[in-house]
């Protein structure tokens, strides 16, 4: 049985929303926990979101240019 792990936007403090500026992995890529997964930007700051677990990046939900708020689903790793 495969379990799917959600990648969500972490708590970045008093930040309303971020823009996804770059995916560093593509759907189908293997990822390891702590590896750079994507970059988001807010207030002239680039923040690198790490993969929360080992697995395969099966689905990208928020694409480059999309906005996201805290806890929103960005992708799924299985």
């Amino acid at each position: 049985m495969t379990t799917t792990h959600a990648v969500r936007l972490p708590d970045l403090g008093e930040v309303d929303e971020v823009t996804i500026t770059a995916w560093l992995k593509a759907e189908g890529d293997a990822v390891t926990a702590g590896e750079d997964l994507l970059e988001v930007e807010t207030e002239k700051t680039t923040f690198v979101v790490e993969a929360p677990t080992d697995g395969t990046l099966v689905r990208i939900v928020k694409r480059e240019g999309d906005k996201a708020k805290q806890d929103e689903l960005l992708a799924e790793i299985a």
């Binding site: 970045l12 403090g13 207030e43 002239k44 923040f47």
Partner: protein
């Protein structure tokens, strides 16, 4: 327990590396090395102050379309262009500008990207007050403004909650160089301290004042270190 004692307990010793005038690429590499060392817990929070040779740097949200002159003009002016990983669009660094690169762990600063930018801006606002100038924030346009003109720009990169890149403050810049771009992708004018106060204080003096303003904002106490031991032959 008194609040005085509590705040004293929280004061962090932070390394200040005064690099003086140094090429952008060399400091870019040093920032990456220090970032890696800070993430690994091998060094404490460190703040670089530096003055660069003329460069345009384009951030993650930026575009070379915001360079308004042909490359021959850049070559003639001795300006190099770099694409970098910080947030934001295009900016200029050059002689007469104080650049500050904090390599710090934001987990000690409340894990708050917005608070970090606000504290960087506040340091500049407090610095300007020393010169009798009112620096202001503009909602949606990070940085510090004097009237309609911008005097300090911010652009930051955060990975594993450790920062690099940072802040640039115009002390006595070459406005012709700024005129070759749309700074931050906007048709804005930049302010420079020397034009506001009629004299150009040394970058060293401005750096000392700015760092003194940052100390209470961040809960820091700076200790100067000799940059020579950090270069390891990279310069």
């Amino acid at each position: 327990m008194s609040s005085w004692l509590k705040s004293r307990e929280r004061t962090q010793i932070v390394t200040h590396l005064p690099l003086g005038r140094t090429d952008y690429a060399a400091v870019y590499l040093l920032q990456r090395q220090l970032h890696e060392a800070r993430v690994a817990g091998k060094i404490r929070d460190t703040v670089i102050t530096v003055e660069h040779d003329p460069v345009f740097t384009i951030g993650r949200s930026g575009s070379a379309n915001n360079i308004l002159v042909p490359s021959e003009v850049l070559d003639a002016a001795g300006i190099t262009v770099y694409e970098v990983e910080r947030g934001g669009d295009i900016t200029y660094h050059g002689p007469g500008q104080l650049v500050v690169y904090p390599i710090i762990d934001l987990r000690d600063q409340g894990r708050d990207l917005r608070r970090y930018i606000r504290n960087l801006e506040q340091g500049v606002i407090d610095l300007l007050a020393e010169y009798g100038i009112e620096g202001q924030r503009r909602p949606g346009f990070p940085g510090v403004w004097v009237g309609a003109r911008k005097i300090a720009s911010v652009g930051v990169y955060v990975k594993h909650w450790v920062t690099r890149h940072g802040l640039a403050f115009n002390v006595a810049v070459n406005q012709k160089h700024f005129g070759m771009i749309h700074p931050c992708g906007l048709p804005i004018e930049m302010a420079s301290l020397n034009e506001l106060i009629g004299t150009a204080p040394s970058l060293t003096a401005v750096a000392q004042t700015l760092l003194a303003k940052m100390e209470p904002l961040f809960g820091w106490e700076f200790v100067d270190e000799d940059p020579a031991r950090y270069w390891r032959g990279t310069k």
